[in-house]
Symmetry: none
Subunit: 204 residues, 4 copies
DNA sequence: AATGAATGAGAGTTCATTCAT
DNA sequence: AATGAATGAACTCTCATTCAT
């Protein structure tokens, strides 16, 4: 409750305000959903007046778009390529698993966004785009891994990619709450098995 | 001035009104999400006054609970047992696929409910319960199918069940929009393949 | 400040509420202009909640339209025909004069509406309509009065009607404040003189 | 990075800024009325920040006062005396007519100001002052014109002045829109006739 | 002399809920 | 069993004004 002494000018210089507001909105969405998202609460979390929020984002919708962009960015970061095809595949899966652990809110927020996209064509387009990139990337990785003799040719099909992504989406877009965490781990493990990536022992 | 005596039971008798309101709410949630759910609109869809809605459901929450019950019921119906274990398994998968086709809104509504359950312990409990039943049922079916020599023993593990349900949840709880329908079909097909159920050729 | 005891059910039964709100808005416009018109204040003047106002008028604009209709009605009432043409002419002028005395707010409200009509085509149409009726009526009366030998033929022109109405509009649409009341009387007197209607002695 | 030194007086020197802001406010009032007058929009029209506006005018009210002064000045300019009394009279009428044509916004702005003066004593005083000067001037001109034998003695009364000014005010203070322009011309013509100034043929 | 950033105090509008009938 | 009328509490968004720079 006490305001920290503003000795060091740590407080946001320029557009950290913007970023802070996006983060707060992100957090609020995870906490109360779009249903309970209130501009005043977002502003309060950053410690500014609502009017300030509207100074940066003309409308609530604009704020939500920014949250969408942030969430998409966080997700896409797990698609960065390094190592052999099989390694990249493994890294993607593990990176995703780690992301869900580090950022437990991401699932909720992405879920809210995915649901909302059903009523919001612009948002739907953004999400579909990322989704398609995801499919293409995974398909490409599996294909090259098979070519390089690292995976069994039988997994180089659209259907396999479809199941894998479906399962991953389930982890990513929904509260891990009811899909208890041992099931999450099991899911990741079994995907690696079916793909033919020898599952290394967990460290957790 | 005098309204004709309502002796003949032409208009909904008693709690058809209730059911109609639940259906309308269900429909509204699919259309506008919890974010946009308005008691007035629900009442209007049934053609009654808002106050009438509150006669049947004291609060908006009560109405939502009823929608939850309805949605859960619809889903659980696909778990009904008939035939051999492998047949039941197949039936469940196909029943689910059919349900998604027949009732395209169900995914949206279940998704909304699942997300909301993250903030609503009572709702979370109901959903988790159904979820656990799902897991147990699937596990049991696979186990018996293996015992009866209909499936390969390698699929009789918790991890396999976890992936399968994760993939199915993805289909069930999220707008099929971005997971384009061919991917949905592919997913179902590949699950059958991995389980060792020979995928019959699709109709349609 | 004390709420009057609601012993007698004098309080508005049905759509007196509507009328009361219109009257309050009318009064508020006279008092603070459109610039200062606040739905909350209008509602407060009637003693109801703002939400109640919006129950009757979906938007502030709708309320303003109703005020326009009310004001136009009050004005048009002075155009009712009785007696010979010259009598009707006299009656119209005197009726107008009386209206300005009885309803000192009318000028302000009509003025606000007239000014607003410059930015509001729909409102402009309504006002122009009344205005045209006014012109036509006056022109007709003068014409018939001339035919009946009650007025000098020289006044039977569009230009005369234009001046007369211009002068009357000035009285009607603007605060009588600065056009001090003796000038208002003088204006009415002189119009009668120029038209050839012998001005009767004032009673005030 | 370095802005060129503002040695050359290309940009407005000192209080051209002030004047520009007043003109913009004047323009805005004509366009959207007091109801829609926004300091931000005024500043934007000049191309400066709102804060800059507040540097020149501490409050919105101060800006409005300046607009009032500007509008009054423009009007009073038509009262400048040149020629014989009858000429001055004619010049005043024609000058006014020309002003309304050249500056179609003036009517709107003066109308807004007149209406506002009903709630603003200070503004009312300023307007009444101008108004009284107008009356006195007109009265004086007519009186002298009669003395010089240029007009009929019958028009040398307060009542005549009252009607004439009432009619002129109607032209000046209200949107010419509904008082269609042919009526405006007719009004000016008839005033000249009644005063005994032979109306010269119009040029357009 | 000028501005970007910030804000307090509202503004119109919405909505779940209540209650007399 | 059903409704029209009413409301408190909020919600998003706006705006004149301030202030450090």
């Amino acid at each position: 409750m006490t305001t920290e002494p503003r000795t060091t000018r740590v407080s946001p210089p320029k557009d950290d305000r913007r970023a802070a507001l996006v983060m707060a909105a992100y957090h609020q969405i995870a906490e109360v959903g779009f249903e309970g998202l209130r501009t005043r609460d977002v502003a309060a979390e950053v410690g500014v007046n609502v009017a300030t929020l509207h100074y940066y984002f003309p409308t609530k919708e604009a704020l939500i778009r920014a949250v969408l962009a942030h969430a998409m960015g966080q997700f896409r970061a797990t698609l960065s390529p390094t190592g052999s095809a099989a390694d990249q595949l493994r890294n993607h899966l593990r990176g995703l698993r780690q992301l869900l652990i580090d950022e437990p809110n991401l699932g909720l927020v992405l879920g809210e966004l995915a649901l909302r996209s059903a009523r919001d064509p612009e948002m739907a387009a953004t999400i579909r785009e990322t989704n398609d990139i995801w499919h293409a990337t995974l398909r490409g990785l599996i294909h090259r891994a098979v070519e390089q003799g690292q995976l069994d040719p039988s997994v180089d099909t659209d259907d396999v990619v479809a199941v894998v992504i479906a399962a991953l989406r389930s982890m990513t877009l929904l509260p891990a709450d009811d899909a208890r965490s041992e099931r999450v781990d099991g899911t990741f493990r079994q995907i690696e098995r079916w793909l033919g990536l020898e599952p290394r022992e967990e460290a957790t």
